[in-house]
Symmetry: C2
Subunit: 225 residues, 2 copies
């Protein structure tokens, strides 16, 4: 029974990998750099995009993954960047992550050619999004200080499967029991050398570094290709 | 392809339902009332248990679900209540929820007979835990004010599939943009009439009501049986 399950899962991940490569080919043809943006529910993913997506100096679009509703897509659409909503509720009670096929199904709704950067905001979850590549160039995960400094140890795959960790809501540090040094040490344990930006989408602290990281991504990718 | 997937998922949920009933039979035989305790990563599930689990006046135990590690189980074990750790990382990169079979695999490690109440702390996630019953009598979900007032609309199944919503971290209300009335109105939309306790595990506010809700559960169940 367990072996059957493992086999089904392996097949699903293999199929996902194939479709992710097809997505990647399309992204390459269009010359668009793609970020898979992950984090727990309420970590501040949409708020972090709201803050910078309209001011990157590169042409950016957003693919917004949600179980249901279009609250986040509506927030971002008001910033006059192209936003496509992708709902996962068709699945069963709702898929807890985006996979390559879901992203692929949204591509016809997106004009890729004019874009330099596409940010794919994943479903809020610290487990499964890390297991499914969608054809992205880079993965960013958001962790907020209100979630606790133990999170890298509890969800190591997520903290390992990313090129950048954004530590959000640092404006709340005086009011919560969160030791930044302890968090960084634990992060270093599970993902040595990964970059970490300490920010607050609410107060704007650290937004310049975050904006620059995103804005430079298309260029960085071209350099490394 | 989509139909095959739906069929696989339906079969999985059917199998889960069968095992959940077997768990329930075992719980009934032992006379233990079982709570499935759910919420996002960092919502404060473990902190809420730490606050009251040793002072319920009924004999309580905890089954602690985590992707990896035993940080939460260690915290609770120090309170001298029986705690069994259940790690989901054997699955593939780690299961994002507990299912009935995982709970069943842990039952031999638990002495059910002496217990009045068993709290099963699920994996931090607002999607899949709501889809898998594990044989519980009641489901409680924790939402924290730092996650935002939009969560009932974004994860409606989770907010619907519970008998109690605990709104945690209300000590942070002065420092975040969270409108309690708006949250309650949205909760009422997706789950009319559900009870909601406003609490802070950090300051202790609302802990008496939370303690009483848990302590009375075995009695309430006996009344309704």
């Amino acid at each position: 029974m367990h072996r059957v399950k493992v086999k089904v899962v392996e097949d699903a991940l293999d199929a996902n990998e194939t479709i992710a490569r097809a997505n990647r080919d399309d992204f390459d043809r269009a010359g668009v750099t793609v970020v898979n943006f992950m984090g727990a529910p309420g970590a501040g993913k949409t708020a972090l995009l709201e803050r910078v997506i309209g001011e990157l100096g590169v042409s950016a679009g957003v693919l917004e993954g949600d179980v249901q509703g279009s609250l986040d897509a509506d927030r971002l659409a008001s910033l006059h960047v192209p936003v496509v909503q992708l709902q996962t509720s068709q699945g069963f009670g709702g898929e807890c992550h985006l996979d390559a096929n879901m992203v692929r199904s949204a591509l016809p709704s997106l004009q890729l050619d004019p874009l330099d950067l596409l940010v794919i905001e994943n479903v809020g979850n610290l487990v499964c999004p890390a297991e499914f590549r969608v054809g992205e160039d880079a993965r960013v995960m958001v962790s907020s200080v209100t979630e606790g400094e133990d999170k890298p140890l509890k969800y190591p795959l997520m903290f390992r499967a990313c090129e950048l960790v954004v530590l959000n809501k640092i404006d709340l540090l005086p009011y919560v029991d969160f030791d930044v040094e302890k968090f960084l040490a634990r992060l270093e344990t599970v993902h040595p050398g990964v970059a970490c930006l300490q920010v607050s989408a609410r107060t704007g602290e650290g937004m310049e570094a975050w904006r620059e990281w995103l804005a430079r991504l298309p260029g960085r990718r071209m350099v490394s290709a």
